[in-house]
């Protein structure tokens, strides 16, 4: 029997459990958001569900003390790993003044925190991608050692900004990881009506960079390719394009109803491959996680979420006068 994958990758048990815990935390926060939305308590949710494995696999390969991430709206898992707390995210869900992303100015899913090196994001897709290149360029000029990871959906890979940014990074060998989280849909549009190529990673060659497509349900597989890309970037050998393939398990957002454009069986089938399920299985198969430990993990996360929900629910909105603040530097 060959060496288990995590050993080959040099990942220890505590790292693996921490990965799993963050995946689970992201999932559970998201589930809570939907409940709150359906209860009329928060106006909007956009989910990470189905992409946690890819997200956590990817950021585990980064240095949270040095590197920058420019995530997109589904990257709840990533920002948790980079230091955002459950409470922070609940404050954001409830649009409270203590939301560190925007003080309740932006919808949930619009992440940003300078302290955690999470660069502020917006709604128009793909605009963060050239920003990542700008960070990397600045780092190169300043002789810094950090790298940047930016992520986006497969639909968003068709925006001009992706192309222009990838080419720029390629020309100047900048330390950027372009991570495309292919979840097979852009709202209602399936990949085959969105993408003219087989794999998003087929585009890498056009930017003179390596391209990889990897199972987005397998955090270890994602970790492996991102790790390689990160090393490459840190060495000064330039950018990489990585595509993680998984599935969007929820509707596009709380405003969407996906029954008009995809069958339930398809969704059910994808649920079988859900990284949360399969990674738990992997950990158990390798005696890294017991049923009891798993249950405890569930419970402790749930408790934290409950607490954060209560706190956030009773927290205050920003004062109305603050509407006028921070248009320009004071």
């Amino acid at each position: 029997m060959s060496e288990p994958k995590h050993e080959a990758l040099g990942l220890e048990r505590d790292q693996l459990l921490s990965m799993f815990k963050t995946m689970l935390t992201a999932r559970k926060i998201d589930e809570r958001m939907w409940l709150l939305n359906r209860a009329g308590k928060i106006p909007f949710v956009i989910s990470c569900q189905g992409q946690e494995a890819a997200q956590i696999g990817a950021v585990t390969a980064l240095n949270t003390e040095e590197d920058y991430i420019l995530p997109y709206y589904r990257d709840l898992g990533m920002v948790l790993h980079f230091g955002m707390t459950i409470q922070d995210l609940m404050m954001s869900g409830f649009a409270r003044s203590e939301d560190p992303n925007s003080g309740g100015r932006q919808m949930p899913g619009h992440f940003g925190s300078k302290k955690h090196r999470i660069v502020t994001g917006s709604s128009p897709v793909t605009t963060q991608v050239p920003h990542a290149v700008g960070f990397a360029l600045a780092g190169k000029i300043k002789r810094e050692n950090f790298i940047c990871l930016t992520s986006f959906g497969e639909g968003s890979a068709n925006q001009g900004d992706f192309h222009e940014a990838a080419n720029f990074a390629g020309v100047h060998d900048l330390p950027v990881i372009f991570l495309c989280e292919n979840n097979k849909y852009a709202i209602s549009v399936p990949v085959d009506r969105q993408l003219s190529c087989e794999r998003v990673s087929d585009r890498a060659q056009g930017y003179g960079m390596p391209g990889e497509t990897v199972d987005g349900n397998d955090p270890l597989a994602v970790y492996e390719v991102v790790k390689k890309a990160a090393e490459r970037a840190r060495e000064g050998s330039g950018p990489s394009l990585i595509e993680t393939v998984s599935y969007r398990l929820t509707a596009h957002s709380s405003d969407d109803d996906d029954r008009s454009y995809r069958g339930r069986e398809e969704v059910e089938e994808a649920r079988q491959k859900d990284g949360i399920v399969t990674f738990a299985k992997y950990l158990k198969e390798h005696d890294l996680l017991s049923e009891d430990e798993e249950k405890d993990m569930h419970n402790s996360i749930q408790k934290e979420i409950d607490k954060a929900t209560d706190l956030a629910e009773s927290a205050a909105y920003a004062e109305v006068e603050t509407t006028f603040n921070h248009v320009y530097d004071a």
Partner: protein, 328 residues
């Protein structure tokens, strides 16, 4: 006459124009099986097939640019931008291309393209799903910018836009979609002329010049103020660019007191054209300064409800502004 809501007027106009003219087709993100994220194109995919109700890749510059090409060929594309806030990647195609093709080719080529986009706030859409973007497009000769307020105008103006031989930006208020209802003649193929403002209420004390959802805020405010004996004249611009200068000046003269209202931020808003036209043409007929009522000059509407409310226009804000002007 039947009463329909604002968004149904959009759908009806599209359906009837597609029926009437084979050259009309719809393209945009999620306009097909999904029927549009607001369901403005609902049923069209089933009726006209996927070639004429085309789900495009997620790329607004291509949506506009491909639309322009098809329009130059001789089709009448109706492109949807999913939110007005996402029209910006397409600005180069709209401003450098669509707007300038007739002029630059000395009338050899033309671009009969309509671009629809939902705009406006008050729906917890936050910064990027609430914007009014008309000011950016209302200084571009070659373009027309239309913002209807009622189902009747929506239907008539959208049909006019589709039949127009020049590019038209057609902004629909997303909060109005299901909130605003109104009468539309049944089975009557009418259009509403682009370029003409419309008096939505006659009055003698204060003139309100506005457009879009704000017309309704003004109408509600006027109704209330009537009880206080204040009589409000309301002009709905309908076409924002080129603006109906005659209509604006007439409306200003009517009462001598002018309140300009927009949901957009104040500085640089499209109201300024009305202010400038009045200041050029009938300054000495005025009995009070020209007032502008608009959103504060902050980047866009915040998400948190109290902040959103502070930013967003509403009936009360319009009411106090009219009252103040009446008592000037």
């Amino acid at each position: 006459m039947t009463t329909i809501n604002y968004i149904s007027a959009v759908t009806q106009a599209l359906e009837e124009e597609m029926e009437r003219d084979e050259g009309v087709f719809v393209l945009g993100e999620d306009v097909g099986a999904r029927g549009g994220v607001f369901r403005a194109t609902e049923g069209l995919y089933e009726r006209f097939g996927e070639e004429r109700v085309l789900d495009t890749p997620l790329a607004e510059s291509a949506i506009a640019g491909v639309g322009i090409g098809a329009a130059m060929y001789g089709m009448r594309p109706v492109a949807e931008m999913q939110f007005a806030d996402f029209i910006f990647p397409a600005v180069n195609q709209i401003v450098s291309e669509a707007a300038k093709i007739r002029y630059r080719s000395n009338n050899d080529w033309e671009v009969p393209l309509t671009i629809r986009a939902p705009y406006g706030g008050g729906i917890h859409g936050a910064l990027y799903h609430s914007q009014s973007v008309e000011a950016m497009f209302s200084s571009i000769p070659g373009l027309k910018v239309v913002i209807p307020s009622t189902p009747y105008d929506v239907k008539g103006l959208l049909k006019a836009a589709i039949r127009d031989n020049d590019p038209v930006l057609f902004f629909e208020h997303k909060k109005a979609y299901r909130l605003i209802k109104g009468e539309v003649p049944e089975g009557d193929d009418y259009t509403v002329p682009i370029g003409k403002a419309d008096v939505k209420r006659e009055g003698d004390d204060v003139t309100v010049i506005t457009y879009g959802l704000c017309v309704h805020f003004a109408l509600q405010a006027a109704e209330k103020l009537q009880e206080e004996g204040i009589s409000t004249h309301i002009l709905d611009l309908r076409t924002i660019y080129p603006m109906d200068r005659t209509g604006v000046v007439e409306a200003a003269r009517r009462t001598g007191k002018v309140l300009l209202v927009t949901e957009d931020t104040k500085e640089g808003s499209v109201l300024n054209e009305a202010a400038a036209a009045i200041a050029e043409e009938c300054l000495f007929d005025l009995d009070s300064p020209i007032e502008r009522l608009a959103a504060p000059d902050v980047p866009a509407m915040p998400y948190a409800p109290p902040l959103e409310k502070t930013f967003m226009m509403n009936e009360d804000k319009v009411e106090s502004a009219i009252r103040e002007l009446a008592h000037f």
